[in-house]
Structure formats: structure tokens, C-alpha cells
């Protein structure tokens, strides 16, 4: 006996929308973070959960007013031209030593605290202050500048987004950098052995020279935890998700940050992206020409400490069949390929008893379509969106500490135009 599921058609998508909101809440389309010009951080220990079922001791930045530190640190969303002050208090265990923050790409000055190798540092239970002017828009990171091989590994890293003077829907001060939705991809990795030694107080045994990562994170979570909503009460130290969604034709800005120590070749299914900036600088041949040195690719190496801004879009044009399953006389959807309108699906899909259905298959090849799913299928694609894996192509990193699947995997969901998105 088969279990029938509801067949969702575009006209009944409002029902599906209620379901999807229960699953994913409202965070979508904008990057979660904190705004302002003065930020008061405390570096302190805390625990995160990993998708292989572990609980890991970390060192985390906590923003003022938050009882928890968070991994990664709070994303600072600031405006070009603003002068930013960050006050840091060191509540790490004394064996961690001094701590500090560096701001690659910004000309920061430090005051207070004690002198250190890269910048002034906050001693245990002490404080230090940093100031910089956000002269250039773009995507940046901040991280510990004190014993960074250990302190960054332990979690002291975060993102900075500088909004251009041109407006919040632009990545840089040029019309060609306009976007409809933006998503953060802050990549980190972990060697759990180091965290275990810290937790056990075996300070003398910590050796970062034989570092070997076995767990990988985007915005501080593994797959599939990163698909869940942002700000979940049961993951208080991992507030940020990574669940991109869009409509056909939307321009998506991917802000990618290599925030750890290894290089990750990130591969974006579904379409090419266009890299418009590296390290907070537009790929431009000169004044006013915009990102005319941008480059297309399917995969980009995220180098440690490097940031990249990419524009990605998807329309389904040129496939040679109608992605909506239209009859020739049906009305067109936005960005639909007129040449493919009404063109029938080209192959016969085999009967389902010889197939394995993925959890994100709607039961139909069509965007916004739907169909019968086998008994036991979780049916996690109630909107019948198109799912595209955005992941590391060092495929080993699609695991969380020996457990497949996990690690550096996300799914972009292209939703039917009738599905409302926040």
C-alpha cells in the first residue's frame, strides 16, 4: 500500500507556505548581524554542538547584552565612512593568555590593554579598545591576533560587512554590484583533538603544528544544522544559519570568507557565479568601470583569510524543456524561457520502485510541481522548490568528524515565483 501525499500545485502553494514557515521561520534574504558604531565584546568559553552529535568547547565572542558567546562572533554590519569602536574584554581562562582582535583590510588603531605582537592585547580579565574608519565597502573578517593558531581555531573569528554609500542593495559603489538577496558563507574547520586538550586542561600537549581538521562549518554550523532557522534557543552559541532561498531571476550576493586555516574549493551547483570582488576590493580596471574584471566559474578556492563576493543567479533558461510543465497556452512565469515554454519534459522517469528518492525531491521534476512520494519519504520540499548543493569540492569536507553527510554542505533553494519569500 502506498502513502499518498498532497500534490502541491502553484495555485495551492499558500498552503505549502504555511508549512515552510513552520519549518524555517522568517530569516532569509538578509544577513544576520548587529549594527552600530560601538561594539562591546567579551571573549569567553562556551560550547557548540556538531552534527555528528558532539559538544565542543570553544572560545567565543559575546556581544554586550548577550549571556552567550557565539560561533562565529557577531557579524558587524556597518556603513561606509563610519568610525567604529570595538571594546574587548578577556574572560578566557588564564592559560589562554592575552587576546586581541585584528581587522585585515582596515587601518585600525588600538588603545588600552598591553602591547602584543600584532596589536595591543587584553590581558586576562582586562580590556583593550580598537578603532577604525570603514573607508571601503565590502566583506571582511575579524579574528584574534594573539596566538591565533590556537585562538582562531577555538572560535575567535567573525565577519564584517561594510555597506557602500550607494545603498544597502549594492555590494560596492557601482550599479553593477546590485543584488536582491545576500548570504554569508563564513568557512571554518576544526581539529577536535585540540579542543579536547583545552577542555581537559592539558595545555602542554597542545600542538597546532600537526593540525588536521576533521570537522567543517559554515557560519558556525555543520550540515544539516545550518539549514535550520537562525537564533534557535537550543543552539544559543550558534545563532546563524545558512539557508539561501530565492526566486528565479533574483541576483544573489554570496559573501564568502575563508575564516579558518585551510583552503576550500567551494562549488556552486545550478549555475556559474561571477566573482566581483576579492578582499573587499571590486575587480575593476579603473575608476567608474565597475566590476569589469569579474570572472565566471563553477568553483572558487577560498583561501585562509581571504574574502570573495560573488553574484549568482538562476533562471532555468536554455534547458530545452518547460520547468513549470506548462501547456503551450499557459501564462508565462517571470524569467521563463519563451523558447522552452510548453516544451514537454524530454524523458520518462522510471517507476518509483526502482528509484531512491531524496528527501528534497518533491515527486516532480517541475518547479512548483509535486507528486506521490514513497512510504517513509520525509518530503522536506513541500514548496517543490529546486535545491542546489553549494559545497566544498574537497568532498572529504562533506563530513562531520567521520560522519557522512555533514560539514561544508548547504542547499540553495530556488522557489516557485508564487512562494512568498521574506
Amino acid at each position: 500500500m502506498s502513502v499518498m501525499k498532497y500534490v502541491f500545485r502553484p495555485k495551492s502553494l499558500w498552503t505549502a507556505v504555511a508549512v515552510i514557515f513552520l519549518m524555517w521561520g522568517t530569516a532569509c534574504g538578509a544577513i544576520d548581524g548587529i549594527t552600530g558604531t560601538t561594539f562591546n565584546f567579551t571573549a569567553k568559553p562556551g560550547y557548540i554542538v556538531t552534527s555528528d552529535g558532539d559538544s565542543i568547547l570553544m572560545w567565543l565572542y559575546a556581544a554586550e547584552g548577550s549571556s552567550f558567546g557565539q560561533y562565529p562572533g557577531p557579524t558587524l554590519i556597518i556603513n561606509q565612512g563610519d568610525t567604529i569602536t570595538i571594546n574587548l574584554t578577556n574572560n578566557l581562562p588564564s592559560q589562554a593568555g592575552n587576546t586581541s582582535i585584528v581587522f585585515p583590510g582596515h587601518n585600525a588603531t588600538a588603545s588600552g590593554g598591553v602591547s602584543g605582537l600584532l596589536t595591543r592585547e587584553a590581558p586576562t580579565n582586562g580590556s583593550v579598545s580598537y578603532q577604525f574608519t570603514a573607508t571601503e565597502p565590502g566583506t571582511y573578517l575579524y579574528r584574534s591576533g594573539s596566538r591565533p593558531d590556537l585562538q582562531v581555531e577555538m572560535g575567535l573569528v567573525g565577519a564584517i560587512i561594510v555597506r557602500p554609500a550607494m545603498g544597502d542593495q549594492y555590494a560596492y559603489n557601482h550599479a553593477d554590484t546590485q543584488f536582491d538577496r545576500e548570504f554569508l558563507y563564513l568557512l571554518t574547520e576544526m581539529d577536535p583533538v585540540i579542543h579536547g586538550l583545552v577542555a581537559q586542561g592539558k595545555w602542554g600537549q597542545i600542538d597546532t603544528t600537526d593540525y588536521f581538521a576533521t570537522n567543517w562549518f559554515i557560519n558556525g554550523r555543520n550540515f544539516p544544522d545550518l539549514m535550520a532557522d537562525s537564533f534557535l534557543p537550543w543552539m544559543p552559541t550558534q545563532p546563524y544559519n545558512c539557508q539561501p532561498r530565492m526566486h528565479p531571476g533574483d541576483k544573489v550576493l554570496i559573501r564568502m570568507i575563508g575564516a579558518g586555516v585551510d583552503q576550500h574549493p567551494m562549488h556552486y551547483h545550478g549555475n556559474d557565479f561571477e566573482t566581483i570582488a576579492i578582499d573587499g576590493r571590486m575587480l575593476s580596471s579603473g575608476n567608474g568601470s565597475g566590476p569589469d574584471l569579474a570572472w565566471h566559474a563553477t568553483t572558487i578556492k577560498s583561501a585562509p583569510g581571504q574574502t570573495a563576493d560573488m553574484i549568482w543567479t538562476w533562471t532555468g533558461q536554455g534547458l530545452g524543456w518547460d520547468i513549470y510543465g506548462h501547456a503551450p497556452g499557459d501564462p508565462m512565469q517571470p524569467y521563463e524561457d519563451a523558447e522552452d515554454h510548453g516544451v514537454p519534459f524530454p524523458v520518462v522517469i522510471p517507476p518509483r520502485d526502482v528509484l531512491t528518492f531524496g528527501q528534497f525531491y518533491s515527486g516532480s521534476p517541475f518547479l512548483g510541481g509535486g507528486g506521490d512520494l514513497p512510504p517513509g519519504d520525509p518530503g522536506l520540499n513541500a514548496n517543490a522548490g529546486y535545491f542546489y548543493m553549494w559545497h566544498s569540492h574537497t568532498e572529504k569536507e562533506l563530513t562531520s568528524n567521520d560522519i557522512w553527510p555533514g560539514g561544508l554542505v548547504t542547499f540553495m533553494i530556488v522557489e516557485h515565483p508564487d512562494v512568498p519569500l521574506p
Partner: protein
Amino acid sequence: MRPPCFIQAVKILLLLLIALGIAALPCSASIYVQCPEDTDGIDADGDGDPANDIVCMHISGGDGFAKMADGKDQYTFSFGLVPLGMPEENVVSETALKATLPAPRITLREGQELYLTMTNVGMVMRPDLFDPHSVHWHGFPNAAPIFDGLPEPSPTANMGASFTYYYKAEVPGTFFYHCHVEAAEHMQMGMIGNLWVYPRQDQQGTVGGFSKFAYNDGDGSTGYDVEYPLQLTAFDSEFHDQHIAVQPLPFADMYDDYPMINGRGYPDTINPNPITNNATAFGAAENFDAQTVNTLIEADAGDRILLRVSNVSTTHQYAITTTLGVPMKVVGRGAALLRGPTGLNTSMTVNVLNVGGGQHFDVILDTSGVSAGTYILYTTNLADLSNGSQERGGIMTEIVLN
């Protein structure tokens, strides 16, 4: 090499499987090739023939063996070529254990349509597994999930069944394809092949002195005389050994120690002939030429050589260089001509090209002015000039200019 005794147990399982298991699969009902005729009268690829725009291909997804340059046998998963027209009831028995490394090459002309049928013929050496397989065209623009080969948002073919993928080749370039089911495992095991789309400019006579091009460049700047695949494959022998021994797979410890070009390490790379595996030692009925891609690069002095480069290692990035004394000109990246959005030429001239996993490049070696002779292409990750613990191996081959 005498196989370990555990393998003997697997061999018995294999014989049992052949006797009972595979024969019991509902194969003939579920194996079928979808291949329509091109009757639309439109010359979509521009070659002058309106009836050759549909390409049909049938591949198997299964297991096999490969022989490394130091003699080590490696258990593999990959695809194999199934001749079109093979009776459906013969497909499993004829193609089981005949996966090739790399997988069969797919070439198309821009404008053509590909009906690619993949039949999951099962993993004979791992009768405990019931994995589906899929085809992911890496880099296909504006892809739809049903043909993207990701097992999460699409159906995938179980053992004994076929799935036909459809692609309209609208964009030329150097791509590759691979199975995306449990990708860390299935790609490590070898399920990867080359996939190239020739540009429409190939149909337009001579441009800039050339008649074959990597892209529709308009000026002949991607023109070439000879082309070679340079797919950087790599195996973690421990992972493969644990696999054939039916042990838990070491994902966290995965670390490739057999770096290769097109499924061969040096000096097998300069042997233009197929390499015969040692499958009978593991219970197969016959040995098989599983590694068939010639990797010895030959050209006339003065030729432009197009290298279609990709890295499909699941753990490593590799940088390559040559001893030709001329730089490598990178004209394509990610199956896209290196041109900016306003048409600026963004091609790069490099001596070393670093290729991350999943990256694909088009590299032109212009040998004009280079004397005839034998030159070396090798990885500058010098520790990867090895086959396991054997030195002078790995990612290295010869470029012979005649």
C-alpha cells in the same frame, strides 16, 4: 600479488552473488535506454547535418579494479561504457566489474542534446551495499535538479535500474561529470569522467589560423592543434583497501596517496596503451583494461596544445607546471572563456597553475619556438610525485614534440 585471505571470503560471496543475486535482480524490466531520433529538420549544432543533433550514450555505474603504477591493485567504483543496442538482459552480466578509470569520456558539439542513460549494475565486490548511482554534470549552467544528479533533490537509480539524463549543450567548455551519491565515498572510489562541449566556432572554418577552438572566442585566441585531458584523479589507498575489506570507511582520515593524471601515475602516464587490471585475483572471471586514457602528450613542435585540466581529488589541490620553457596560457576557467562582463580579455599567463578540487581550466601550451624533444609536465606539489611510497611517480607525464 596474492590477495589476503579476507578477500577469499569476498570472492566466495562474489560467486554466490553471481549465482543468486544478480540473476535475481529485476534488471530486464528496469534497464532501458531512452534515445529518440533527431527528426526535427533543424541543424542545431551547425555542422550542416540536421539529423545528428541528438547524442545517445549508455553507461554503467558499478565497481571494478585499477592497477597503480607501482603494481598495487585498487578497488574502484566508476562508470563503464555500454554499447548502444546491447540487449537489456545482458547489460548487468556484460558490464559488471568493468568500471573504467576515468569514466568514459563524453564529447558533444554545442547545440546537441544528450540522452545519457546510466544503468546501475551493482557493486559485485560489495554485495552488502545497495547504493544508487547518479550523474552530475559538473558546471552545467542553469541546471534543473532532476538532471543534476544530486541524490537529495532528485531520484536516483537503484541497482538493476536505469535513469536517463537529458542535457541540451548550450555552453561550450571543459566540464567533467561524476556520481554525486555519497560523494565523498563514490568520488574517492573513482566515479568521475571528462565531459567536453566543442564550440560552435568549430563549424565556422578558419579563425586566426585555427579550425578547432576551446571557446567561441571570435579571434582564434583559444585555437589549438591537439587536445589532451589532464584530469587529476587521486586515491587514498587505505580508503580503497578498507572498502574491499568491507570495513568502516575512514572519512576523517582520508588522505590521497596515489595522485594521478587520467587515472594513471607516472610512469604509466607515458605508456599509451591500456592498463590491464588484476581483477581475477579478487574473484572476477577475467582481467579487464580498466584504464584506457592515453596520457602521453604528443604534438608537432610549433603546435598549440590544449590541456583540458580538472582536479577531482577529494582531499588535495594540485599545482602543475611544465619544462617546455613557455608559460601556460589559461584561456578558460569553470567552462567559461576568460573574458570580463564587458569583454575585457582576462586570460592569464602562468608558469604554475594551482587547481583546487572541482576546478576546471583550459590551458594552451604554445610550442612555437620550442625545439623538438621530450619535456615533462609535473606537479609542483613535489611530494605528490609518488605512487604510494614509490618515488618518481604520481602526477607527471611527458610532452613529446616531434
